[in-house]
Amino acid sequence: MLGADAMVKCLEEEGVKYVFGYPGVAICPFYNSILESRIDTILIRTEQNAAHAASGLARVTGNVGVCAVTSGPGATNVITGIATAFADSIPLVCITGQVNSALLGSDVFQEADITGAVESFVKYSYLVKDAEEIPRIFKEAFHIANTGRKGPVLIDVPIDVQNAPVSRFKYPDEVNMRTYKPTVKGNAVQIRKVVKELSKAKRPIICAGGGVLLGGAEHALRAFVERYRIPVVSTMMGIGVMPTKHPMYYGMVGNNGHPYANRAMNESDLLLMVGARVADRAVNQPDLITENKVLVHIDVDPAEIGKNVGPTIPLVGDARHIIEDFMEEEFTCEHEAWIDTLNGYRDTMGRVRKPNPSYVDPAQFIRMLSERMQDDAVYVADVGQNQIWSCNYHIVKNGRFLTTGGMGTMGYSIPAAMGVKLAEPEKQVVAVCGDGSFQMSMMELATMRQFGVPVKIIVLKNNYLGMVREYQHYTYKDNYSVVDLSGSPDLEKLAAAYDMRFMRLRTMEGAQETIDAFLEKDEAVLLECLIDPMDLVK
């Protein structure tokens, strides 16, 4: 058995079904060995998207997403995808080929110090120098990626190590790392303190972040808020923790969120932040969430607690375990007047839009689309105005809403949606992007065609980099700089080039029929919606 065989064997041991990647000489031994395996390989069209596709898969399955690329440019191209996964705490294992270990440091062809380059974007990285170490390293990498605060792990394997013999392959049953023991269970004293505050609170609220979904805690959280009737708001990454129309859900907070959600959070007297980082886009003024209230910060990563805001009660642990522990406690929590107040805010503080009837209104369109989508459908939003409209108007039923809230990487939606569709082929998967973000990943239409991945794509087309244009509208008084997207391809011809069904919607007239036709069959469709170029999210 060679090192490369051992690498593949490790992936089999971990139950990996798909590897997304792009070969080159330095990773060829691995790609040769994988032919003998039942693991499917997906040839992505640019390495960054391998990480995004693996991210989509990881987010819906809860398993580690895997990508494998070559050394040098292959490895450096994947960095943005790794950084995206790091910011969003998505478990990935990225395997990179590397030049011969004897030549490391001599700047030979396609050599890049990838472990050095990704240091600030990975949870951990390995440079494998001995093929015998492969089983231990892979076992650790998968464990690190998918426990505690989840995140990407990179394994750099020189070509000679892939080709070296492995005398005895034994996949370890468990990891033994003296430096890594994440806290899962919350401290009992702290839990009781929180319960005491809950029973005193007149205006409690929960702000749910992506950590709730990563911890698989959404069902526990729903049961908890239903029992005690505690209102919930969410961050962008926390969308989908609660069904959008749940009576206890009051929308997304933040500078792009709903005004009533922010007001609810600011006026509360007890705020439970669960699996949320208190980052700038969600909480613009951290002072507001500490003033006149008890702030409980629950996170699996102790470093997040106190980083952006000092909580009254810090509580380190996994969201699901902690909520289950809350459910064990007996207490009363009464605050009907508060719920009435919040319902009043929700009814009266909605955004009023004045849509231009000559174009598709993205708000109304997204609402109609999501109502028609299947109950457990997965909606993947890209980055830009499309993302904010998606966050504000998509109705999550029992499916998932995926986007990159942390890094905000344009081009995320199509590759991520592919990863989702491959992992869960029975589900309806819709990627929604703008014409800017679409063009950052449109090369993946070929991957969809080659591997038969029927992702549905919507392009909200306004011929601008809309989010930046909107910023320049407000900040530079319409002095637009480098945001004009004219020159974009004819999407109808493009779809034809990839044998993809194409549809176009010019106004809201006939929107319902178009959406129904778009969703009808389990096939790849490209739907172009013409949006008013001057439309704003705010």
Binding site: E119, S120, Y124, M177, R178, T179, D301, G306, K307, G310
Partner: protein, 162 residues
Amino acid sequence: MKKIYSVLVENRSGVLCKVAGLFSRRCFNIESLAVGETDDPTTSCMTIVSSGDQRTMEQIEKQLNKKLDVIKVKTFDESASISRELMLMKVKYNRNNRRDIMEICDVMKAQIVDMSKKTMIIQICDVPEKTRLLIDMMQSISIVEVARTGTLALQKCLETDV
């Protein structure tokens, strides 16, 4: 506020770079850094002196703990530690100032460890303020070069120590 972090890490290649990278990326300040193997050859001890506000000091400890090559972080105030720095200093001397130099060394408990006809090397091992003071004292005399180890520190002995 000044704190001393005594960081026990895995003795592996790249670990120093990861720890130093953490400080630069998060805009934490390093006043001094000293690294060496401990009695256990699989571990190294890094002594890092840093300053900043309360929240920064707390974040440094938490972020260090997050690094997977970090085994243990101990944080303490200067006053709660025994700290030392070793400095070697080469100075130019002549007949007129030789006695002065020797007197300063005597007062500062520094030693002259090497000499030529024109230069000598002075060694001092003391708390960082004293090494700083020696530099100040010698500045008027003509310092050729200086090498310092950075602060090494251990928490003072406590009754609760094992």
